[in-house]
Symmetry: C2
Subunit: 450 residues, 2 copies
Amino acid sequence: MRLRLSHRAQPFVSERELMNMQPFIDAAHQLVTQRSGVGRDFLGWIDLPDQQSTEMIAAMKKKASEIAQKANVLVVIGIGGSYLGTRAALHLLGHAVPELAAPSLRVVYAGHNMSATYLSELLADLDRYDVAVNVISKSGTTTEPALAFRFLQAYMEKRYGKEDAATRIVATTDRANGALVAMARASAYATFVIPDDVGGRYSVLTPVGLFPLAVAGVDIDALLAGARRAKQELSESDVSKNDAYAYAALRNILLRKGCAIEAFVSYEPGIHYIAEWWKQLFGESEGKDGRGLFPTSLDFSTDLHSMGQYVQEGARILFESVVRVKSPRHALTIPELASDADGLNYLAGQSVQHVNDTALRATMLAHEDGRVPQVLFEMDDMSEQSLGYLFYFFELSCAISGYLLGVNPFDQPGVEAYKKNMFALLGKPGFEAERARLLSAREETRNARE
Amino acid sequence: MRLRLSHRAQPFVSERELMNMQPFIDAAHQLVTQRSGVGRDFLGWIDLPDQQSTEMIAAMKKKASEIAQKANVLVVIGIGGSYLGTRAALHLLGHAVPELAAPSLRVVYAGHNMSATYLSELLADLDRYDVAVNVISKSGTTTEPALAFRFLQAYMEKRYGKEDAATRIVATTDRANGALVAMARASAYATFVIPDDVGGRYSVLTPVGLFPLAVAGVDIDALLAGARRAKQELSESDVSKNDAYAYAALRNILLRKGCAIEAFVSYEPGIHYIAEWWKQLFGESEGKDGRGLFPTSLDFSTDLHSMGQYVQEGARILFESVVRVKSPRHALTIPELASDADGLNYLAGQSVQHVNDTALRATMLAHEDGRVPQVLFEMDDMSEQSLGYLFYFFELSCAISGYLLGVNPFDQPGVEAYKKNMFALLGKPGFEAERARLLSAREETRNARE
């Protein structure tokens, strides 16, 4: 149930280079552990593995089992950090081909986009299921989830009546302030609290992730136990003993050596949304002040037949962080075929996992020849414990990495730019001046160009 | 049913810069239309919209309707260009939340990875459905699909008997040569031909894409009609009149100005796999000889709450190619809420599409302020016609763009590197020398390092 850094981008980064980072790692370690750096008000994630209230956990489990009794579809409404951790966990732990599965409860998502097509088709199909809703938003006024909840609240009240609907809707939100907590109180919804000192992208181990995961039947105690073990094992500043810190140092070294892109690579399709979670974590923490690695992801061997050509021979501006899963969920042995018409009998009796794992090894050798630096993580299995460990590992790496980069790893000022423009263009009260400025500035530019 | 280039990265690229590319566009146009450039043996895609045999199309439709009669799950086995076009089309044209839908026939994929977890769980669930298989591979020996087909062929024969299985398995492969066509003949499977002069990433309008799409109920005539219209409208070399050529020129200009990454952006979740198809098309065509833009994709507004921070304020090495869908599949009007508890009543009576579209406009303004060049495409709707137009538009752009870059847009030499290593490490007959070289070379490196 661990994540190990087993290949450290050699021969592209030497051990000496890594050791040269130690004083700076020490400084970043102080900023995190002494809570003295920029963004220090958002370090609450450090304590999530071992300091959450047992009463709150028990209350979540109780409500989760009540929901799981009466519903077979849970609609999770949230965007960014309010849904990516849940989606990452369920995609890894759940059925590999969800469209074919017949689970007792299915989680679907809303409020993570503003597509009329998506929302219409979601709403149209809910009638065939018993539905519950978990709406997740700190403020309750983020447009995407607020809009989706306006539709879904109306749907639930129309279908079940106000009273029954109230037992099927759970709000995960601020303790005291904001539109959503007010709405939850007005309708007597069960609520769970998003702590003030935990930002969205660090919130998977709060009720933001834990509650919907509990509804879906995930063992959240095991998830937290994995994170707790990571917290214990990754507590030293020594880069030779702390893999999370070594990873933070490596990615900063590779950035300074000319890599502009980091690709998160895996060979298990179940990892796909963990990569999406990781992209938000690092992209939002580091992509600021004109800096940061561009985080992207590749699903191998699928994408070896797509982006593989670029990785092997395109512009040399990329490194890979590869996650190897040591034990997948099933063993599958390749059968003998009497005719050997497909020429695969040389693999008969081998496991599919062995072939997949050999593809990983072969690709790493090929990409090394293609001058692509690679970092390799080994994840024991696809269990809750290992996933909890992984979440904490990358959260900690990201904090250290952001400080090494020289940015505030805990803010996201750039996310406001499109929102402000959108409110202005939509005519939201309070944005009149912005609207006038925006429209006239564009008008001027347009005239000047013509 | 068109794709229009309605914003040409101004003010970051001037009209003058674009016009300066005309002589080179003319040269690339000659290479494509006179079929005189490198890779000229793979220009068959040019004729697919209007020169495919009507008998072959009729035969595909007949077999497709036969399969659709007897199966409710079609397993499409293929990787890279053998499945991405189909997946892109079905994701756009199909239900937005496939897990909730109850279609008369569902398409799932195999052979696009080598995960034992994925393949085991897929096989375990097939028993609950009536199954058909379309195996797609030029040679029949690409490891991923060949391995999956070995399992699925055994499954089908065990479940249905050899004779009935043969009516449920369709092979799309080479006309005469290779393992798959031989297997298909031996078992009397229906077969459709992958033309010799069309590479995988350009093959969506051959039976590779057309047959599974026909089984799924897609109007393939309309798809081809859209492509035909694109072929007619995008025939001139004049960059001011040919949007596909203008796009090819713009991306080369932006690369030369310092952009390393191109992000394919959309605001409709249904576009997601079109972006994956586009990534293969451009990544595999241009990522060679140390060159090429790194193609990536972003689903907005989802990813504005994830990668949005980086795009707005991170390293300035990226430009965006944004697809706007003018008419989504459904209209949805935002209701009034008596309490206005969520503060969204200023939007009541507006359509969700208007809000989504305003997010697009607002984001483009914000990213322009953040110095991100942007290209905007307008797609009329999410119909077969528009999709056919889009496929042809980007295929043509990609050919011109690759020539402008100075590479062969139709080969993929780098895809072989991992395969060769994999065969060697797996002990495939014929790769003994490679295996010895590989293992001893690594041994030496390892010793030298220690």
